[in-house]
């Protein structure tokens, strides 16, 4: 059997991190292929339900990336998102739903292809260290 490879869902802002991913690709920067990208219009669009849905569906890790504070295409979407994610992040760890190393947030501009590849590698390493998702996966309903 081949070695376990984590599945990571990445919600990337269309105006920055998604562009960085594109640029990283065009620039032939290397990072492992564990990341499934979902393009969103803004990190502020990432509803916490999306993140829970990813984990419920069996994602081993989730990564949300948006524009640097002050650079939001919609002026302040990422600043609202930052508060939202701060609370979500701590509550997910508090309830034991998400172990440390599974949920990641970053600010990456569209020019930062190198940072994108670096963070991607970091995210993958951290999720690998956390191991396959165990806690919060919806399988067959536990009913009579």
């Amino acid at each position: 059997m081949s070695e376990w490879e984590p599945k990571i869902v990445a919600f990337l802002c269309n105006w920055c991190s998604y562009g960085a991913a594109d640029l990283a690709g065009v620039s032939r920067l290397q990072y492992p292929a564990n990341i499934r990208i979902i393009r969103v219009p803004c990190s502020g669009r990432v509803n916490p339900k999306f993140i829970l849905a990813a984990f419920r569906s069996g994602a081993d890790g989730v990564w949300v990336s948006g524009c640097h504070p002050g650079d939001c295409h919609y002026i302040e979407g990422n600043l609202y998102a930052r508060r939202k994610f701060a609370l979500l992040n701590s509550q997910l760890e508090y309830t034991g739903i998400v172990e440390p190393g599974r949920l990641h947030f970053s600010w990456i501009s569209s020019a930062e292809a190198t940072k994108f590849a670096e963070v991607a590698r970091g995210v993958i390493d951290a999720v690998k260290a956390a191991g396959p998702a165990r806690h919060f996966i919806k399988k067959q309903a536990e009913v009579a």
């Binding site: 339900k49 504070p69 939202k84 609370l87 701590s90 509550q91 034991g96 947030f105 970091g122 309903a141």
Partner: protein, 316 residues
């Protein structure tokens, strides 16, 4: 607390007959011990049904959103904070409200008294100052009110209403030096697997009746996320992952808005300490953004605003 009964009746009578308000929301005496029923008074002849004692733990702010009449409402400290939250969220207008502030010494916890009765059924309960006399078939016990406060009331730091039009009694002394979060710290200190097990066991008895959600004044969404079908975020059965998703998101939806009124926990028919979910968020909001829900009528709720320098140690 019973002394408020007369004052509530007097105020209701006055406000209705002077046509200051169209209705009055208070409680009437329950049909079983330790329970009172939220009650809408529409005319002066109903006023004498109004009642107050230490079993008025249901948050009356829950009955305010979308009301169109001029309404007087009896409000404890927590209720008044939820009224502030409603005002901030445009659920009701200040000028249609007449707030009868009830400085509060805490509501009693039916569940703990029942537990200490060890299966004996209380048939009558009468509150007298600091004591609650309970009697049933062949027994009589006296409970000390203070000892049997709801756990949220025991750590309450806003016993006096924060907004009101008149007070039903002199302000009570606020509790000083209260440690609000020993239980949160205890859970924080656990390992991640222990925390996971702790919350799994906590919600195991849940029957998905949504009493916690519906007793909460903050849960007024026209369609709750559990009822959405396209996409369906969460299954409707008592599957543990679905039940946890519900409790997690319910708590998250009240982050920065929850006043720790304890209605959710009080309403739960199976005795789940659902505040274990909300209190951590309350603590985080206080630590990260210095915000306490429902205390400041002129400050936006923490998730409806931001500061350029908000802490972001978790972001790469």
């Amino acid at each position: 607390m019973r002394e408020y009964t007369e004052r509530i009746r007097e105020a209701a009578k006055r406000l209705l007959s002077e046509q200051r308000v169209d209705t009055v929301i208070g409680f009437r005496r329950g049909t079983v011990p330790f329970m009172n029923e939220p009650f809408l008074v529409k005319s002066v002849d109903q006023v004498d049904q109004l009642y107050w004692d230490s079993n008025c733990g249901i948050n009356l702010a829950n009955y305010l959103p979308k009301r169109t009449d001029r309404v007087a409402v009896v409000a404890k400290g927590c209720d008044s904070r939820n009224i502030v939250v409603h005002l901030l969220e445009n659920q009701i207008k200040r000028d249609q409200l007449y707030i009868l502030g009830a400085p509060c010494r805490g509501m009693v916890d039916k569940r703990r008294m029942m537990a200490d009765l060890k299966g004996k059924e209380p048939l009558h309960a009468e509150e007298n100052g600091k004591e609650i006399k309970v009697s049933g078939r062949g027994f009589q016990v006296t409970f000390d009110r203070q000892t049997y406060l709801q756990s949220n009331c025991a750590i309450c730091t806003h016993r006096n209403p924060v907004v009101y039009d008149e007070l039903l009694g002199d302000p009570v002394e606020e509790q000083q030096g209260v440690d609000r979060y020993p239980d949160v710290r205890r859970i924080e200190a656990m390992s991640v697997d222990e925390r996971w097990r702790y919350f799994q066991e906590l919600i195991a008895p849940c029957i998905r009746c949504y009493a916690c959600r519906n007793a909460c004044p903050l849960c007024y969404c026209p369609t709750c996320f559990v009822d959405e079908s396209r996409p369906q975020w969460v299954g409707k059965t008592i599957d543990p992952t679905d039940t946890l998703t519900f409790h997690f998101l319910r708590a998250y939806h009240v982050a920065g808005r929850c006043t720790d009124c304890g209605s959710c926990e009080r309403a739960c028919p199976v005795g789940i300490e659902v505040r274990k979910f909300t209190k951590k968020l309350e603590k985080e909001v206080k630590e990260l953004y210095g915000y306490e829900a429902g205390v400041t009528p002129d400050q936006r709720p923490p998730l409806d605003t931001f500061k350029p320098g908000d802490p972001e140690p978790f972001i790469k």
